[in-house]
């Protein structure tokens, strides 16, 4: 494995572990860094379309959604922050060992798997052909889910009639 890919993968694992353990705003930034590193690896594997989607949507849009959600909640006071920090350290301290054990297990199990070379005909279709021809039903599903998501958010943020009446009465 090239040094660059190895370094990116190591950095990816470390960033993921840091993201899970840090404060919520830093975690949102850590998630964006993780997404950026994933997109680098995905690009190296020869999937530029997926890499661009990962970088723009996951590292960009989702981070903005997280930051907006965090900004809409009230920050903790100093005592609360200290209490949360201690609790977080206690809860997440075994994570490094669990992750190291799982990583080692996956590394070792790789020897047992026999991955064969692909057939010569494999992978001749482009992603554009596949998306618009072979996987057309997926696109319809995506559209349906997008609409469901939009309506879900609209319903969640819709003020109830009673709340509106109370505000008008004031």
């Amino acid at each position: 494995m090239s040094h660059v890919t190895g370094a990116v993968l190591a950095l990816l694992a470390l960033t993921a572990l840091w993201t899970i353990q840090t404060s919520i705003l830093r975690a949102a930034i850590g998630l964006a860094i993780t997404s950026a590193l994933v997109s680098v690896v995905v690009f190296q594997m020869g999937a530029p379309l997926a890499a661009v989607f990962e970088l723009s949507v996951c590292a960009g849009l989702i981070t903005v959604v997280f930051a907006a959600t965090i900004s809409l909640t009230r920050p903790l006071d100093e005592a609360g922050k200290a209490r949360c920090s201690v609790r977080r350290k206690r809860r997440f301290s075994p994570l490094f060992f669990v992750a190291a054990a799982i990583g080692a297990l996956l590394w070792a199990s790789g020897y047992a798997l026999e991955v064969a070379a692909p057939a010569a005909a494999a992978g001749t279709a482009t992603s554009r052909d596949l998306l618009w021809s072979a996987r057309r039903l997926d696109l319809v599903g995506q559209l349906v889910i997008l609409f469901v998501g939009v309506f879900g958010v609209v319903v969640l943020f819709k003020e109830r009639d009673e709340e509106k009446a109370e505000e008008v009465a004031r």
Binding site: I20, L31, V42, L72, F92, L95, V115, D129
Partner: protein, 107 residues
């Protein structure tokens, strides 16, 4: 890089993807903050994305893997948007975003 390269080195990528998945799963299990749980599911999805593309690279069907990844990312965005809406709704109603508060809701 050719499929042969990824066949030789797939263990490194699979281990990294496994660590991402386990980190997300641990976050979901250990945390009681709703936003952190959404973050954990995001982290798990990153691991799945990495594994999907790795499977495509190893089998020589990267284009098919790309099509799946695009679908996964669209679902991910919708899920995060709706989950963020739920978190904000719970916070507005209760003044906190803890999982336990969801159990007190009607319906």
């Amino acid at each position: 890089m050719s499929p042969q390269y990824w066949i030789e080195h797939y263990r490194e990528v699979a281990s990294a993807a496994g660590i991402l998945f386990v980190a997300g799963l641990y976050c979901i299990v250990a945390s009681r903050n709703l936003l952190r749980i959404v973050l954990g599911t995001e982290m798990m999805t990153k691991g799945v994305t990495l594994l999907l593309v790795l499977a495509g690279a190893v089998t020589g069907r990267v284009a098919l893997a790309e099509a799946f990844v695009v679908t996964v990312i669209v679902l991910e965005v919708v899920a995060v948007a709706v989950a963020a809406g739920i978190v904000i709704g719970v916070y507005r109603h209760h003044g906190a975003a803890r999982v336990r508060l969801l159990m007190e809701m009607k319906g």
